[in-house]
């Protein structure tokens, strides 16, 4: 355990040590919350069965379906059922949760949604806790001052069986954003700018802590967008210290403590922020007021530029040349005005109510450009319901966009929401890897504002010009 001033990460880490690490062995780290979905869990449950093991803490395990399920509606207006191998994954999860006593929010349940959207909205995600899931975007939950990170399927099995993981403590990396974000510049732009600066392997081996006045003034949903993409900089976890914004978000949520337990929890959570004088292994400072709307031009999330900038010259860098070739782009030319085919608004990065409100600001009283397909996929049943209460679904539909059922959808193209080969998409998701949104598909990552601006103009556009 660290002596003297400690960082937020160190406090959460120390509080979850079943046994501390030594030179010879990693720490045994206790997991408070294990989130499970249909794609990375079946082999872990099979392992449990073959070893005759049970789930140690079903009360600390919550499952949902999000990755492989369809998000389109069938002829009856309800979500189309999963088919083939995806249907097998869905029924395997149902069977596993039933047999092992795990709470499941399946398709059709009002609490179903993308696993990183429902954890926070149900109040399961709480400050100071340890949260894991077989999904790299588990870093999202760090927005609450939790230590949250993605794990592989073997580790899913470890947590199911023992509620613990063998881990070495990550190094600490403070990303300080001071100043105020300009109009039309969002949390997505802030994190894309950091990744562009430090690179996709820039924070490998570290946990990021996002700090500074620009981070403090973000809403919880915006903080989730930032923490979500920590893994795109190589950090398994990204954290924001909890504050009154955090507590206001959590108060009254279904799993959040209430009454005296709430007061006790908040008092405990107030001790979590990094102590004055706590040392970070690395610090990066960015002036938030200098940031502009960002967009990626290449095939790695670190290949980001300001939306008004030109595509960079590769200068002999084979990786950049390969990315330019895949994307069909010419160096030195601006992206502004470049025609696009598809706009995807959704994913665990940007599918929450505030993201949809931002997109709707642009769609309102405008039409999706001819030849462009726009999908808006809410992150959860609850987001969908709240958006419909506000009439956002009407705004999207009247503009000519598709309003879908909640799920991961075209973020990773595991279901039938896919780009055609060669198509260009502006996407609010988190990865622009080759073929990520469908084989041969080409992805520009951007904020909901920038994606919506592309939808209504049919080309890459600076959203600030549409907000005037």
């Amino acid at each position: 355990m660290a002596d003297g001033p400690r960082t937020l990460l160190e406090k959460v880490w120390d509080a979850h040590l079943v046994s501390a690490e030594t030179d010879d062995t990693p720490a045994v780290l206790y997991v408070d919350l294990h989130l499970v979905h249909e794609v990375t869990s079946p082999q872990a449950f099979s392992e449990l069965r073959s070893r005759g093991l049970g789930v140690r803490r079903p009360d600390r395990t919550v499952a949902t379906m999000d990755h492989a399920i369809p998000t389109r509606s069938g002829p009856d207006g309800r979500r189309a059922p999963a088919e083939g191998a995806a249907a097998e994954q869905v029924s395997a999860l149902e069977r596993n949760c039933h047999d092992f006593g795990v709470t499941l929010y399946p398709v059709g349940d009002r609490r179903q949604g993308i696993v990183h959207v429902i954890g926070p909205e149900l109040g399961l995600t709480q400050p100071g806790s340890t949260i894991v899931c077989g999904d790299s975007h588990t870093s999202t939950h760090g927005a609450f001052g939790a230590l949250a990170f993605g794990i592989g399927t073997s580790e899913v099995g470890h947590v199911l069986a023992t509620q613990c993981l063998l881990q070495r403590r990550p190094r600490t990396f403070a990303a300080d954003f001071d100043g105020t974000l300009g109009a039309g510049v969002t949390a997505k732009d802030l994190i894309l700018a950091l990744i562009a600066r430090i690179g996709t392997g820039g924070a490998t081996g570290h946990a990021l802590e996002y700090r500074g006045s620009a981070v403090r003034s973000l809403s919880m949903e915006e903080r989730m967008t930032v923490c979500n993409m920590s893994i795109e900089a190589g950090a398994r976890a990204g954290l924001v210290a909890p504050d009154d914004t955090t507590y206001a978000y959590l108060a009254g949520r279904s799993y959040a403590p209430a009454g005296d337990a709430w007061d006790a929890a908040v008092a405990r959570w107030r001790t979590l922020p990094s102590d004055d004088g706590a040392r970070f292994d690395r610090v990066e400072r960015i002036d938030a007021s200098s940031l502009t709307p960002m967009i990626t031009w290449g095939t790695s999330p670190g290949m980001g530029i300001s939306v008004r900038e030109a595509v960079p010259e590769p200068d002999g860098d084979l990786g950049l040349e390969k990315a330019l070739r895949y994307m069909g782009l010419e160096p030195g030319k601006p992206l502004l005005g470049r025609r696009i085919d598809v706009v995807f608004i959704g994913s665990c990065t940007n599918s929450r109510l505030s993201d949809l409100r931002e997109a709707a600001r642009v769609f309102r009283a405008r039409k999706v450009a001819p030849g462009v397909r726009a999908l808006v996929v809410p992150g959860s049943e609850q987001v969908k319901k709240e958006a419909e209460v506000e009439g956002l679904d009407r705004v999207f539909r009247e503009a000519g966009a598709e309003w879908r059922e909640p799920g991961c959808s075209m973020c990773l193209a595991m279901n039938d929401d896919r780009l055609e080969p060669g198509q260009y998409a502006v996407s609010t998701s988190n990865r622009n890897f080759e073929g990520r949104q469908g084989p041969g598909g080409r992805t520009f990552l951007a904020s909901p504002l920038t994606a919506a601006a592309a939808a209504v103009t049919g080309a890459i556009a600076d959203p600030r010009e549409l907000l005037r």
Partner: protein, 197 residues
């Protein structure tokens, strides 16, 4: 997990940097409940034409790649998604190790849990391996060293992972053996902090 003490093989070289797990195995191949049969998804979009013919020129498709069990790749190998299917696909494709100058954290952890070796070498050793595809290499787990004609390089492997590899010990068995400590922690920590929904 079976014990892994030494790997001796020719290499295949894929010099690209930032090879993400979506390239190693695209998401559409993850629609399965098994860890078997993932070899067909390995580097699928780089390796196969849409009609299933092999893409000429892709390193793994060259005749001299047949039988090679060590892949040499660029920096930050295995970034992106946490899918352990990436490791299973590499193993199904006949590989036992990847050599790079840097690995993504989650991939590295997943690899070691499957007896698959992430061998992190310095730039000089890496450059030598990249310029000589098909070079015979010997990876010695006990000595934490990779040796090849014209060079050798130590690689980092933490003691616990090394012990597990050499003895075929799996982590779950180790965790299960800590039952007493885990129960004591739970006793002290009290119930889960949630109001039931």
């Amino acid at each position: 997990m079976k014990a892994v003490k030494e790997i001796r093989s020719r290499t295949v070289v894929l010099p690209a940097e930032n090879v993400d797990t979506d390239q190693i195995i695209p998401a559409r191949f993850l629609v399965t409940t098994s860890r078997e049969g993932l070899g067909k998804g390995l580097f699928a979009d780089w390796r196969w034409e849409k009609d299933g013919r092999p893409k000429a020129g892709f390193a793994l498709n060259r005749p001299e790649a047949a039988g090679a069990r060590v892949l040499v790749a660029g920096r930050n190998f295995g970034c992106g998604s946490s899918r352990e299917h990436a490791v299973w696909a590499l193993q199904a494709g006949g590989f036992d190790a990847v050599v790079s100058t840097a690995f993504a954290d989650i991939f590295r952890g997943n690899a070691l849990k499957n007896g698959f070796l992430p061998v992190q070498v310095d730039e000089a050793a890496h450059a030598r391996l990249v310029e000589a595809p098909g070079l015979e290499v010997t990876i010695d787990v006990g000595a934490r060293e990779i040796a090849f004609e014209g060079g050798r390089s130590a690689f980092p492997l933490e003691p616990f992972a090394r012990y597990c590899l050499l003895n075929g010990q799996d982590e779950l068995a180790f965790l299960l053996s800590r039952e007493r400590e885990i129960a004591a922690y739970e006793e002290a920590a009290g119930p889960a902090p949630w109001r039931s929904a």
